[in-house]
Subunit: 277 residues, 2 copies
């Protein structure tokens, strides 16, 4: 049972505001119900949102929490004067001090993605996603050298979701390539990776956890057995150490955390750049 | 040339804060340089961040903008007392009014992803990404009925990036399935889709734009010709209309906007839920 309704109102998608609101609410020991109201880009739609919030306030007998990222002064004025929720103006709160410091007026641009679909940055991100899918799991050796980074590791160590996150969030072209028993027998990196060794980053994983994950896919297989997982992980780690490939364990990390660490260790320029998304 | 340096300091990845900061700065006609400082989870690291900010302030002769999402009171106190930038406390600004309204103290939990890698919600998200990749581009008919939604449309209409975004951001299992000339000749949906017609959502695209995109892949091909793109788009739209499949045009929309519209039209419960990510 939820203990509080949390609205997120945006003239755009409201996705960033909801993600941020979720992080804020996670600081409290309650179970919020989130209601996202996207594309509130007219005063009329702001009126509809207002009715929904005030109705919830009445029915629940508690103030809903209302995160807004509206840039329209008219819509904000309406909410400020009539909203029966706790209004948290995520945009206005910061825009005023920024205007003072920058000595500029904000542009009150509605919908931050309005023209993005043709922007160079957006198209680069889509291209990165397509590259990353085409180069998932060592599917092709074509243009491997065009990758920003190539993730390596044993099967099911987290390479695919991490690759896609890096592409989606940061517009990076990421290939991923499995290390397999054949490589361990040869005691060498896969031949296709030798010329691009400097772009490699390894993921490893606790063998116990790996065995659990593999058992969901292929129960009671040799592939999933703890003994085999121990062997593969030990061999993969030894190989990365010999080859000087930086690596980390994905066991207790989210793809956001793994991705950020990959950037810190091998692509620090992407922590330090223009507005990249 | 950047006109202002913007720091993003977080005890976690800082990705949400950077995305939000980027949206805020886009309201101003300047070219910011973003510097993300993730994993600032000790007072020692806060000292290092402080040195970096104050050095930038000195070198550039302008106050850097500093977005923080630090939950540690010690680290925040340090920044507040010594930072030579314009400090924008994204967390603290909202936590105090929330504490008052909820009559609860916040938990000052450092690192909102700290235990996420084993959480049911996180594992569901990873499973959704794996499902979505396995069901990209009609690769398999296996468990199509297990999808939350199945995107259909002509080749290069935006199905793959949208599918992956829905999986990554909302933990939805999304299949995507191409509509091809063979289907248009039969004037029927692909047979595999008939039993799950209610889960279909269509993407269409302006033929001119489609032709441009396809020409990048296969220059001067019949596949990419404007004439063929016009034919395919007209047939696909007619088919979706006949079959009662809801659809939208991806031409001027970002994957965030397309995804949000898909949720509004066919999965409204996912706009209206517990904290899902």
């Amino acid at each position: 049972m939820h203990t509080r309704t949390v609205f997120v109102i945006s003239d755009g998608t409201g996705i960033t505001a909801e993600t941020f609101g979720t992080a804020l609410m996670s600081q409290f020991d309650i179970t919020p119900r989130f209601v996202r109201l996207p594309f509130v880009d007219t005063v009329d739609k702001a009126h509809q949102a207002l009715r929904q919030i005030n109705h919830t306030a009445e029915v629940e007998g508690k103030k809903p929490i209302v995160f807004t990222t509206l840039v329209s002064p008219e819509a904000m004025a309406l909410l400020k004067s009539q909203c029966k929720g706790l209004l948290m103006d995520m945009f206005g709160t910061f825009v005023q001090p920024l205007e003072d410091e920058l000595a500029l007026k904000s542009q009150h641009r509605v919908g931050r993605f309005s023209d993005i679909s043709q922007s160079k940055e957006y198209l680069g991100r889509i291209e990165a996603i397509n590259y990353t899918i085409a180069h998932d799991d060592g599917q092709t050796h074509r243009d491997l050298s065009g990758a920003d980074v190539i993730l390596v590791g044993v099967s099911r160590s987290g390479k695919t979701p991490t690759s896609l996150y890096l592409a989606m969030q940061f517009g990076l072209k990421v290939a991923n390539y499995p290390l397999i028993p054949e490589d361990f027998e040869r005691r060498k990196l896969p031949p296709a990776l030798e010329p691009i060794r400097k772009k490699l980053f390894g993921l490893t994983i606790d063998p116990q956890r790996l065995s659990e994950i593999r058992n969901e896919r292929r129960p009671d297989s040799r592939y999933a057995s703890l003994q085999n997982c121990r062997y593969e992980v030990a061999e993969a780690e030894a190989m990365m150490r010999r080859a000087g490939v930086p690596w980390l364990s994905s066991t207790h990390k989210s793809i956001e955390e793994i991705s950020t660490t990959v950037l810190q260790l091998v692509l620090p320029q992407h922590l330090n750049s223009g507005a990249s998304h």
